[in-house]
Amino acid sequence: MNVELTEAPIRESTTDGTGPGVRILAADGPTRTQPLDEPETVVELRDVSCYYGTFRAVRNVDLKIARQRITALIGPSGCGKSTLIRTINRMNDLVPTYRSEGTVLLDGQDLSARDVDPVAVRRRVGMVFQKPNPFPKTIWENVAFGPKINGFKGDLNELVEKSLRRAALWDEVKDKLKQSGMALSGGQQQRLCIARTIAVEPEVILMDEPCSALDPRATLQIEELMAQLKRDYTIVIVTHNMQQAARASDTTVFMTMGEDRAGYVVEQGETVGIFTNPKHQLTEDYVSGRFG
């Protein structure tokens, strides 16, 4: 039998490491008492290795992703960034030869266990893809699809509006909710995909190079949006754009690949530190553009 994932308390932190009495009420602004140097962990990867057949794509990754922060994954193409984030919502289960080792914890629960239903995982860990992929349906239906299939009992119209507002798209589409989502511009499509993702109210949003198909203005809009969304959500973003990582993220994880082409984490830490004072030569070479 599959194990039901219990809904973790979203706003109140657990007590591991942070001590009693620490409450996170970011959406309410002033009551935030979370110490910045010791953020609460939402997702934790312990010794995670990923394989496609016999090829090891990612090896021995230990990673903690902090709640309500933006974590950027940077590194050269093919170093396994996408593979790594796709293990967090079990999307790689859909790749026939894929298997992983190690443990992925969401709120302390093991997501990688065989008896955990990936369908339940993916509602709690949403994903935005590189190429905007709205459904060939109306804008309204694009946003309402997730809530419908996940048994949303409230007012759908209200949820659609709220999601579109949160995705900073409402003002542009409020008069054409019945038009196809495919008819929007690239940047609008991507924000529609973000609205669609947050409509199911996940805890974590994974973004796999969400701006690589967008122009600088649309990219900036997405970055501003991310800064607002982190008040309610935890965001993990894979990006090839180092300025984007530097601008938009709180934490940066630098990955690269070894001789065996297996990706691994070189260094992780506060974004400012990674970019201004990297501890590893590899990181310094990469963030300064001297990567060979």
């Binding site: 599959n2 039901e4 809904e7 959406a27 239903d117 509602r123 009992k153 949160r166 109210e201």
Partner: protein, 300 residues
């Protein structure tokens, strides 16, 4: 910009993910699909078993090389086999170039005017016209007006007309499925329209086109009714010539034997059905080989 600050936890009660029910409905759907393929397989196996058990005892060298006879022990299907092969070859030579050419025109060259839209719709409708109508048309045009007589060529042209809509529709769908980016890529290198079609569209569409051709060919070999009207005989003891004299094809031979009262003839009919199946198998195998060869150079 003030996004609504509703804490997520407050709305958690409005969700009833009900995974158990969703898993159950998923299992039911899976079971239904399994049942569908089961029914299909069962039907196929029953038909195969019925035909094989009746026909296999009759299937020998004598049956393949002999000519029809009132004595069932000496009866064979050689004239019908050759007739079917001749019809198949002529149909392929006529229907496929014309059908694929028309599809290329409609998908790549013709605009989206009212006329071409009407044309596309009507080609789809053509594939629904009863095959006997094609027989009547073939009798009027090929046999009488063109004076081709009751020959293999008349029959083959009739069948070619019959399957052409299937070829056109399947090819058109395959061509339309080629991404515009492929066309743009070829054009941007200075390709003319014909070069673009030849190098970018046709290779990518070839597997789909071949699938349509396989389906059309299967129909061509199994078709009976229109051929009766354009002169396929039921009792042919000579090798049919393409342009001269009478002919017959396998399904007509089957029809003849199956409608006779004696049980032995039913065995002969079943044996002939096995030959049709094998013939279809070989032709489809060839088409699949061609498809594999064509798509070898395409790597998505």
């Amino acid at each position: 910009m003030t996004p609504s600050a509703t804490p997520v936890a407050n709305v958690a009660g409005r969700w009833e993910p009900d995974l158990a029910r969703r898993r159950l409905s998923g299992t039911i759907f899976y079971g239904a699909c399994l049942g569908a393929i089961g029914i299909l397989l069962l039907t196929l196996l029953l038909i195969l078993w019925d035909v094989l058990s009746q026909g296999l005892p009759w299937l020998d060298a004598q049956f393949l090389t002999g000519v029809p006879s009132r004595k069932t022990a000496q009866a064979g299907i050689f004239p019908a086999l050759i007739g079917s092969l001749e019809v198949a070859i002529i149909v392929a030579l006529v229907a496929f170039p014309i059908g694929v050419g028309a599809a290329i025109y409609l998908a790549e060259y013709a605009g989206n005017s009212r006329l071409t839209r009407a044309l596309r719709t009507n080609i789809s409708n053509l594939s629904g016209v009863p095959s006997v109508i094609y027989g009547i048309f073939g009798l009027a045009i090929f046999v009488r007006v063109m004076g081709l007589g009751f020959t293999v060529i008349s029959g083959a042209l009739t069948i070619a007309l019959l399957i052409m809509p299937v070829v056109v529709i399947a090819s058109m769908e395959a061509i339309k499925a080629v991404p515009q980016a492929q066309r743009d890529g070829a054009y941007a290198l200075g390709a003319s329209r014909w070069q673009m079609v030849r190098e970018a569209v046709l290779p990518a569409a070839a597997p789909g086109i071949m699938t349509g051709i396989i389906l059309a060919m299967a129909r061509a070999i199994g078709e009976t009714a229109p051929l009766i009207l354009v002169g396929a005989f039921t009792f042919v003891t000579f090798i049919p010539q393409p342009f001269d004299g009478g002919y017959t094809v396998l399904p007509i031979q089957v029809l003849d034997w199956a409608t006779r009262p004696q049980a032995d003839f039913h065995g002969l009919a079943a044996a002939a059905i096995i030959v049709i199946l094998i013939l279809m198998f070989i032709l489809n195998g060839l088409a699949i080989l061609v498809r594999a060869r064509l798509s070898r150079h395409i790597q998505w």
